[in-house]
């Protein structure tokens, strides 16, 4: 309120009036400020002043005499400033050519503190107004859509396609399936990260989990499902986001239920092993050398080391290798879409699965921490001819070429 702003500066006004009368006896009558008001455009700010985390607002300070008249024409030989306590609560930048205007950028996280307005002839310390209370609040929630795209190298992923030059040694592959569960999606901003509250659509998203489905049941993917799902939608505070984090997989609490009673998208038979094993977090099936000597190369990633009294009994304690993969990707907030990429690196696609292959050079540049680093720590269930296909197998490297590309945009 104007009243409270004015009241808090009375002491400063008195002090300043004394200083001014002694230093500037020839100064124009009434130029000494008695009160100050702060405006955001045409709107006067009131205490506690509300700022939004991470956002910038241009404010103008105006000074008034003891009769409430606005003091004008001060620009030539007077200066002002705005200072926050704690200092990190907001940054203040001068506006060129406008000595009484400032761009105030609140810190990245909610908080509170005070600010003062300084005024002077050559130095904005002759008179200090304030402190005034200020609160930095979180931005209002906004709809968020995260777009995913799957690629093999630089080529968009599609069922029915054959991709050459994959892995080392280079082979051709024909995809048969590509689906994955992700959960715990968080958006990263300068001051921290915010959980994305997923839209509960009854089909693709349940609680904080979503199914990404890149296969469309065409071509060799014909045992799949026709609909695809390449976006995650939800609500999050409208920060300026610079990255995204999520977990690849199904959380333990959802991973060992009865698939016939589980909500969609956790009721797909093709993505479920058993109560004990839970879900296939990532299913990426391909045929290597489809036109020559076809070899199956199927990656089914899920928890291993899950113990219970039988395969159709749910474990009550965590699996020894949950194999939930943390993914973190960066993106360009100004472009509205990120270049974040996670790469599962193809190794020797033609290998028979008998010996884990060394991790070759990545074919796809990755931003931030990516699947590249995590995949090597994960147990991957591969299914290839002659492979033992035991669920406890550990592979040295994931070998899936398509890389999800992530784009963040506010809608």
């Amino acid at each position: 309120m104007l009243r409270s702003l004015s009241a808090t500066v009375l002491l400063g006004t008195v002090l300043l009036a004394a200083a001014c009368s002694s230093d500037e006896s020839s100064a124009p009558h009434g130029h000494t400020p008695h009160t100050v008001k702060v405006f955001d455009g045409a709107s006067e700010l009131t205490e506690p002043v509300q700022l939004t985390a991470g956002q910038t607002v241009r404010v103008e300070v105006k000074f008034y005499d003891d009769e409430g008249g606005e003091l004008v024409g001060l620009d030539a030989d007077h200066v002002a400033d705005v200072a926050f306590t704690p200092a990190g609560l907001a940054s203040v930048a001068a506006v060129a050519g406008e000595p009484f205007q400032f761009d105030v950028t609140a810190q990245g996280t909610p908080g509170s503190g005070t600010f003062t307005v300084g005024w002077g002839h050559d130095d904005p310390t002759d008179l200090v107004f304030g402190p005034f209370d200020v609160d930095v609040g979180a931005p209002a929630p906004a709809a968020v859509t995260i777009q995913f795209a799957a690629r093999v190298g630089a080529t968009p992923f599609a069922c029915g396609q054959v991709y050459g030059g994959v892995g080392s040694p280079a082979v051709s592959i024909a995809p048969k399936d590509f689906r994955m569960y992700v959960h715990d999606v968080r958006l990263v901003h300068a001051g921290g990260e915010e959980p994305l509250a997923l839209d509960q659509d009854g089909t693709w998203q349940h609680q904080n989990l979503a199914l990404l489905d890149f296969e469309d049941a065409t071509g060799a993917c014909s045992n799949g499902t026709a609909p695809t799902h390449t976006v995650i939608t939800g609500q999050a505070p409208a920060y300026q986001y610079t990255g995204i984090k999520f977990k690849l997989g199904v959380p333990f609490a959802l991973n060992h239920a009865d698939v016939s009673l589980a909500p969609s998208p956790l009721n797909l038979a093709a993505l479920f092993w058993s109560w004990q094993g839970g879900y296939k977090f990532l299913r990426l099936d391909a045929t290597v050398d489809p036109a020559g000597t076809p070899v199956a190369h199927n990656i089914h990633l899920g928890s291993t080391g899950c113990t219970s009294s039988g395969p159709t009994d749910a474990p009550t304690t965590a699996c020894t290798q949950p194999n939930v993969v943390d993914v973190a990707l960066t993106m360009d907030p100004d472009a509205g879409r990120g270049g974040g990429r996670g790469a599962l690196m193809p190794g020797n696609m033609a290998a028979d699965g008998g010996a884990p292959a060394a991790c070759p050079a990545p074919p796809i540049p990755s931003a931030g921490r990516s699947l590249r680093g995590s995949a090597s720590r994960s147990a991957v269930r591969r299914r290839s001819p002659r492979a033992s296909s035991r669920p406890s197998r550990h592979e040295a490297a994931g070998r899936a070429p398509p890389a999800p590309r992530h784009r963040l945009q506010r809608r």
Binding site: A269, W273, D285, A296, P311, T312, R383, S388, S389, R390
Partner: protein
């Protein structure tokens, strides 16, 4: 689904007048005691013509996302009923061209005159629409879920199955045997749907049963999904049938070409069947269109006995003898002139 509609459907399912000869019914190839199969390698229709394929069990057919061996397009039982009724190649019930006569005969029957208005208010005659809807309603009551395995797994009877069957269950759901990849879900087939599911999951698999000439071919006309898609890679791809009551539904496979469960295990252990000579000779395990899951495995004598014990624990004797699913027509009655029990 109403009780009158179900009862009307049961009458029709067993009614021998629903055939070109007047002596054949749906139940002729779908006997309750055999979990609604017929014990033959392939079905034999009303006129004696052999069907190319084995009569499938109707247990839990309500949950099927695929209703027949390979047709991905028949998605409802109402639609599917048209094939056995009116199909001409092969002839099953043989009703093509006989519709008006059969509908008139059934409409004049006092039982149907009583059941029809209750099942379909406002309807006074038996029509194709009422027949197919009533048949579908009855088939949706063919629920098998009270086997010893069900009492063990879903009930409260931890000793309903033997220790051997429990070991067999573990093998069945293991990554070594891979059985459950195609025979998953409560219905022990991946081609299953249920309430709440937002997606249609249809699966078809080539199990390496044949490999004619080394090119992956199956004996004509049983080309599987390829018949419907025209895609070469769909040769020999069939639905994985439910394994419920599997011990009473011999012989096995889409063409009834394996007589016993023991031999079925041989087929899967070998990763495909080898036929040494004759017109169907070929190394099935090398079929280029074979499912990735058919990698073969080694079974000890004990493993084999355990797997068989598990499969036998899936026999639901309640289902096989439930009088609510049995033939309602007494021998000699209008719907059962031949005196079928």
């Amino acid at each position: 689904m109403t009780l009158p509609k179900i009862e009307l459907g049961r009458r029709l399912f067993y009614d021998q007048r629903l055939s070109v000869t007047g002596g054949f019914s749906c139940a002729s190839c779908h006997e309750q005691a055999r979990a609604f199969t017929d014990g033959r390698a392939v079905g034999i229709g009303a006129t004696g013509e052999a069907h190319p394929r084995n009569s499938m069990s109707l247990a839990n057919v309500a949950y099927g996302s695929v209703l027949t061996w390979a047709n991905p397009n028949e998605l409802t039982l109402e639609h599917q009923a048209l094939t056995p009724m009116f199909g001409e190649t092969p002839v099953e019930l043989g009703l093509a061209g006989k519709e008006a006569q059969v509908f008139a005969t059934l409409s004049a029957d006092t039982t149907y005159a009583r059941l029809l208005p209750a099942a379909f208010p406002g309807e006074s005659t038996v029509t194709l629409a009422t027949i197919t809807r009533a048949l579908a309603a009855f088939q949706r009551t063919l629920i098998s879920g009270r086997s010893p395995y069900d009492r063990y797994r879903y009930g409260d009877a931890p000793n309903a199955i033997s220790a051997s069957a429990k070991r067999g269950e573990a093998l069945f759901f293991s990554e070594a045997q891979e059985c459950f990849h195609c025979h998953g879900t409560f219905n022990l087939t991946g081609a299953t749907t249920w309430v709440g599911k937002q997606f249609v999951e249809q699966e078809f698999h080539n199990t390496g049963l044949y490999n004619l000439g080394g090119t992956g071919d199956y004996p004509s006309p049983n080309f599987g999904l390829k018949i419907f898609t025209g895609l070469a890679a769909d040769m020999g791809r069939f639905k994985a049938p439910t394994l419920r009551n599997i011990a009473v539904t011999a012989p096995y496979m889409h063409d009834g070409s394996i007589a016993t469960l023991d031999e079925v295990l041989d087929h899967y252990a070998a990763g495909g069947r080898t036929i040494a000579s004759g017109p169907n000779a070929g190394v099935g395990s090398a079929n280029p269109f074979k499912s990735d899951f058919l990698q073969g495995f080694v079974l000890t004598t004990q493993d084999r006995a355990d797997l068989l014990a598990f499969l036998q624990s899936l026999t639901d004797s309640t289902f096989l003898t439930d009088t609510a699913l049995a033939n309602p027509w007494p021998p000699g009655s209008p719907g059962n002139p031949g005196g079928t029990p």
